[in-house]
Symmetry: none
Subunit: 430 residues, 2 copies
Amino acid sequence: MKAEILTIGDELLRGEIIDSNSSFLSQRLLTLDIETRWHVTCADDRGDMAESFRRAAARSDVVLVSGGLGPTRDDLTMEVLAATFGRKLVLHEPSLETLRAFFARFGREMAAINEKQAWFPEGADVLVNPVGTAPGAMLEVQKESGGTVLFFCMPGVPRELYQMMDEQVLPRIAARCRVETWQRAALLRTFGIGESNLDEMLRDVALPPGVELGFRTQFPDNHVRPVARARSEAEAQANLETALRALRERLGALVYGEGEDTLETVTGRLLAARGATVAVAESCTGGMIGELLTAVPGSSAYFKGGVVAYWNDAKAQLLGVPEAVLAEHGAVSEPTVRAMAEGVRARFATDLGIATTGIAGPTGGSADKPVGLVYVALATAQGSQVRELRLAFDRERNRRLTAQIAIDWLRRHLLGAPLDLPRLGKVEKR
Amino acid sequence: MKAEILTIGDELLRGEIIDSNSSFLSQRLLTLDIETRWHVTCADDRGDMAESFRRAAARSDVVLVSGGLGPTRDDLTMEVLAATFGRKLVLHEPSLETLRAFFARFGREMAAINEKQAWFPEGADVLVNPVGTAPGAMLEVQKESGGTVLFFCMPGVPRELYQMMDEQVLPRIAARCRVETWQRAALLRTFGIGESNLDEMLRDVALPPGVELGFRTQFPDNHVRPVARARSEAEAQANLETALRALRERLGALVYGEGEDTLETVTGRLLAARGATVAVAESCTGGMIGELLTAVPGSSAYFKGGVVAYWNDAKAQLLGVPEAVLAEHGAVSEPTVRAMAEGVRARFATDLGIATTGIAGPTGGSADKPVGLVYVALATAQGSQVRELRLAFDRERNRRLTAQIAIDWLRRHLLGAPLDLPRLGKVEKR
C-alpha cells in the first residue's frame, strides 16, 4: 500500500510555518506498517490542488490531506476535491447542526460563511471533529489504472489533525488494508565514530534477509537504523532482533543506546543503578555538561553540582588548582585539568569528578596551544586520568563534542569499557 | 519565476525528522521576491528521485534540492540527477583535494567511499561547502517546453545548507532573475511578551505603504518580521527602516536585538562595553546560563564563572548559603536564591551575580512549592533583588525560560530598564 501526504497552504510555501503534520502522519502510518512515498505541499490554488489530487490518485493508494477546510475564501479542499473527481458538493445536515451547536455554545450566531464547512463531495464519509469547527472527510475514488484510492481530508490545525487521524482515519485504513509486507525498525545510537567509518565497519556484518541499514548523522552522534521487512510481523521482528544483536556485537561500546535514548539519560541510569554521584568542573564547556546531565528528570539523585571555572582565580579558589600549576603550565594543560577533576570531586564529595579545559575558538589560540586543544579528565577513588584532544570544528561544535566526550567517558567508566577515540581527531592518552 | 523545493530522505518520509529546510529555503527565496510553488519530499530511491527531478524540470524554473549528498550508499542525488538529464558523472579534482585536506585536518585517512563526494554531473557548477564534506552543485537543464531550469543541490544538514544557500545559491539566482518587485525584511527579536499580545500591541502602529508584519514564535522568544515591498530596492530599504524605528519606539526594551542577535550576544556586548563582570549560581538551570553566556566568543572578558549547586551542601559550602536559611526556608526560597546570588558575586569577586533555584518538574513539587515555582536573583554593589515566578511549561521549557529571564534581567539592569514580566505567568517582585 502506497501512501502520500498532501499539505495545503500558502503559509507553508512562504516558510512561515514548518510543516510538522507530514512528519506526524507518516509516523502514525508506520504503526500500520504503511510507508509514505511522498510528501507534497501546494498552495491554496485551484489548479495546483487539482494537479496534486490527480497525481496522488495515479500513484498512491491512500492520500492524507491536511488543510484547506476552514470557512474562508482560500479554503478550497472540499470544492477542488469534488471538482477534480467529478462529484457534486452536497449539504451534510448533521454537520450543519453540529456547527450551529458549536457557535451556540459560545453564545455566538454562526456567520454565513461557516455553512461552507457542512458541504462535502457526494459519496464522502464525514469525519467528525470534536475539537474544532471543520469536519473531515473520506472519499473513495476510482483509479484510472483500476482499483480505488482513499482520500482523507483533515484540518491543518495540529491538535485537530492529531485527534482525527487517531480516532477517525487510522481505524478506517486498518479496516481496509490487507498488510502483505511487515516492517520493523530500530535506531542504534553511537558516539565516537564518523558516519563513513561506521558504514565501513558494518559492511561485512551478516544480516538476515530483508534487513537494510540506514545511517544518520546527528552531531556529535551517528546512528544506524536497521529496517527489517518480512512476510509476517513475527518474522520481521525476529529478523530485526537478530540484526540488532549482530550490530551490537560488532560495534561494542560505540553503541550507547537505542530509540529515544540520549547519552545523558543512559549515563544517568548507569549512575543511578550503581548509586554513584558525580560533579563537574567546566572551563571551555562553560556549564554545558551540567546542563546536559540535569536535563534528565531525576538527575538530582546522582548529580551534586559543579563549578564553571572560566577565570583562573576561580580554578584556584573554588577548585583548589595550585597557583603554581596554573603559573607553570597554564589553564589549558594536563596538570590543570587533572587538578580540576580531583578538586571538584573532593569539594562536592562525589564518587566521580570530571573536568574540561581548552581553547574552543575562534580566537585565543597560540602556536603552542592552538584552537581546538582540549583536555578532559576523569577523577575516581583510584586516581585520575587525562585525555588530550585536538578538535577542528567551530566553537559551538568543539564545545558540544567536548561535553559529549566527557559524558561518554563517564558512561564507559561505569561500564568498565576503555575510552577509545581513534576516529574523533588526534587524541592522546596521559 | 517559479520555484520548487525538493527534500530527499527516507527519514523525512518516516517522520523521524521534521523538514525545516523547506521552510528556510522558501523564506530565503522570498528575499528575492520569489515565491515557492511546491515542496516535495521523496525517498532515497532512484525511481522516485528521477520522477521528482523530471516533474520539477517541467513545471519550475528554479529547483532547490536538499539531501542525498553524503558518502553512503543511500546518498544518490548526484548520480540520479546526472542520469535523469543524460549527463555523465565527472571527477572534480579540486573537490577531491578539499576532501582529502578536510580529513587530513583531523589526522584521518579519507575512506574510499568519500571520494564519491567529488563526482558531479557533467557541466555542473560546484558549490563549495566550507563547513562540511559534501559540496553542492548547480546544474542548468533544458526544459522540454523551451528555456532552462536551474537545479541547486545542497546538503541536508541544516547548518551546511544555510550557509550554502546564502553564500552560493542566492547570489547565483539573483544574478539570473530580473527582479521587478524588491523586498526587504528584518527580524526584531523580543523577549517577555506573548505572540498575541505582541500583535495587539502593534495593531495601531503607523507603517509605510507596502510594509507588512509577520510574527514568529521561537521559544522562549517572539519575533516580529516587517517586510517592505516596493518598486525599487532603495524605496523598500527606506520603508523598512521607517517601520523598524516605529516598531522599536512602541516596543521599547522588549526588543533585545535584530537579525541574528541572541540575547546572550547582546547582553555580552553590554557587559563588555561597561567593563562589568558576572558570575552565576545555578540550581534548577543546572549550568544552562553559564553555557549560554559562554557560547559567545570572547565571553571570557566578562564571564568569570559559576557554581552549579544542585545539592544543598554545595549551596552551603561553595556559595555560603547559611545552613539555617536552607533549614528554615528550603532550597527553593527567596532567602536562599538571594544568598546564592550574593554568595557567587562575592566568591568570584564580580560586579554582578545572578542565581536561580526552582522546581523544574515533572516531579518534586508539593502543595506549598509546586512544580514551576522558580526564584531568580540579581546581586549588585547596591544590594540584591529577587523575582518569584510560577511557570507552567514542561521541564525543558521551564529551565530554558528561567535562564532567559535571568539573562534578560542582566541586560535590563545594564540598560537601566526595569524587569517587567507581566505576560510570562504570575511573577512577584520581592
